[in-house]
Amino acid sequence: MKNKAGDLISYLMIVLAGIILMILLIGITGNSISDALSGFIRGIAGSSYSVAEVFVKATPLILTGLGVSVAFKSGFVNIGAEGQLYMGAVTITALALAFPNLPKGILMPLCLLGGFLAGGVWSLIPGILKAKMGISEVINTIMFNYIALGIVGILLQTVLKDPNNYFPVSATLTDSAGLSILIPGTRLHSGILIAVICAILIDILIFKTSLGFRLRAVGMNPRACLCSGISVGKHIIISSMISGGLAGIAGVCEIAGLHHKLIEGISPGYGYLAIIVALLGGNNPFGVILAAIGIATLQVGSLSMQRAANVPSAISSIILGAIVLMLMARKTIFKKLIDKKEEQG
């Protein structure tokens, strides 16, 4: 049996190493460590605004992380969440600008559906290429990210451009295409609710339905699926579509809840962060929520730490990257600790 205690200890040691690294880096800046840490804490818990900020940042991470983890379960490495998010954002912008007079009750669901479809289609293409032609999705999805970004840029300079604005941004969307603020005085919008609802739905789908079983089986052992009559290609395609769709919804929520117009740069690499969220969350919806909140905490806290003690907020990327790298090396570093003994098969 696996040495569970050993496993746990190795994870704790990695977290500890992360904290030590953070303190070390703060030390290098020459600024007061206590100032920095208190700034960090204030940034994430000092006021209702701060706490809300964490969840604001966590929302797109939860959604894209969910998407990536669904894909992972089927063996599809979706690095394209970034592009899929943007396609969702484009969709809501286009729909909202085209139908400004629709009541919110119709427009918002329409935009969410449209965003899901747009992100889904964007992910579907690499999915089909993998399922039907065996083309690796790793590079493909990255390429589609850049193509999506380019499309956004082109649209913002042409079709979607706000005529009254010099810069390539879209016109501000009407309130009917907006998500309401949940706590006044903060930026927390109902996107977080959408994210949590999606997590619950995905949990039900993946772990409690027969389709979900097939999606998982295909990732566990495609050969056994073949022998059992489960179509591997079809389920990779379905998985990639759901994955992209969730990222598309993330894009919709960012526009509807936060920016209220389409600009380049609504995503500071959420798509790539999503992979880390999925990894840390164990490809499990509730793990994803926790991981997303954890990463958001790190990011929001680091921003506050920068304001309070001049510690560059880039520190969060360093810690995050380092933790993932340590996780990758975990089994080798802690080999003696995690002594695996398997029963004779």
Partner: protein
């Protein structure tokens, strides 16, 4: 007439300059992939190369020390990737992406620590352009191809060296074997792990050199995320160029061409969005992947950690 030719020559020269860092990084990545190790962390390597070369040149005033340290930094990042992927047999995709995060954070962090926030970016010395002996004197062609800085000449040399090694030497055969059928290479007595580590180190060295190009040859300063995705474009040149050194150079030139055309159009105030050109390489890459499906030219063991199969 001669004015037009001169413009073309200048244009070509610009293409070469834009293609240089992509080619350098591409050559390194192609070598790594040839032996079976895919490195998505090219971005990280280039960033660290850019940063270290900048800092060292800034402090010492010597560009050559800067170049050296750039290459060294690249090798360190690549070394981390190598150990994780070869020894720890970790997933090459995730390690690459994590390194990109790490490097972006680290370089931004260190830059801010050393230089603080300021509106004026600190500058460093840059490499001089010089005329290549003899070849530089050729009218027009000399101006286009042989009046550049040392990075460009190194690039030419490396393209040639790699071509030679791959096609004409036993080493090339060994690299192919390691990436294509590592157990055959292993049975033949070749140390698969050592070869892969070597390829990763070279990848780091060249990627670091490529990164240094941005600071020491192109811009003369460093800023956060100076590479802005060029690492991924280097991966594109590897795909478009089918891992062939000349192919990589040509793809890089084409990408440079697209860039240059885009600039030109902007200066002429033609309202075609720049993105229409900048996405072309990516679309091309997807098509190349599409058409090479089935007859895959990927080394068969690409991305798969090697384990001695002890039956």
């Amino acid at each position: 007439m001669s004015q037009i030719l001169l413009t073309i020559a200048t244009f070509l020269a610009a293409c070469i300059r834009m293609a240089t860092p992509l080619t350098l990084a591409g050559l390194g990545e192609a070598f790594s992939e040839r032996t079976g190790v895919m490195n998505l962390g090219v971005e990280a390597i280039m960033l660290c190369g850019a940063f270290s070369s900048f800092i060292v040149t800034f402090w010492t005033g010597n560009v050559y020390w800067g170049m050296l340290c750039g290459m060294l930094a690249g090798m360190i990042i690549s070394g981390i990737h190598a150990i994780l992927c070869i020894k720890c047999k970790a997933n090459q995709t995730i390690v690459g992406l994590a390194l990109n995060f790490f490097a972006l954070g680290l370089t931004s962090f260190l830059f801010l620590i050393v230089f603080g926030q300021s509106t004026i970016l600190p500058q460093c010395k840059t490499v001089p352009n010089f005329e290549f002996p003899v070849l530089g004197k050729i009218p027009l062609l000399g101006k286009a191809f042989f009046t550049h800085n040392i990075f460009v000449y190194l690039m030419y040399l490396l393209v040639f060296i790699f071509l030679f090694i791959y096609k004409k030497t036993e080493w090339g055969v060994i690299f192919t074997a390691v990436g294509e059928h590592p157990s055959a290479a292993d049975t033949a007595g070749i140390n698969v792990f050592r070869i892969r580590y070597l390829a990763c180190m070279v990848n780091g060295l060249l990627g670091g050199l490529a990164g240094s190009y941005f600071t020491l040859a192109q811009l003369g300063f460093f800023m956060e995320d100076i590479t802005a995705g060029k690492g991924y474009i280097a991966l594109v040149t590897v795909i478009l160029g089918r891992r062939n050194p000349l192919g990589i150079l040509c793809s890089a030139l084409l990408i440079g061409l697209a860039d240059a055309v885009q600039f030109q159009l902007q200066t002429m105030n033609i309202p075609i969005p720049s993105q229409a050109f900048s996405i072309l390489p990516y679309i091309a890459a997807v098509f190349v992947l599409l058409f090479s499906a089935g007859k895959s030219s990927d080394p068969s063991a690409l991305g798969i950690p090697y384990e001695r199969d002890n039956r």
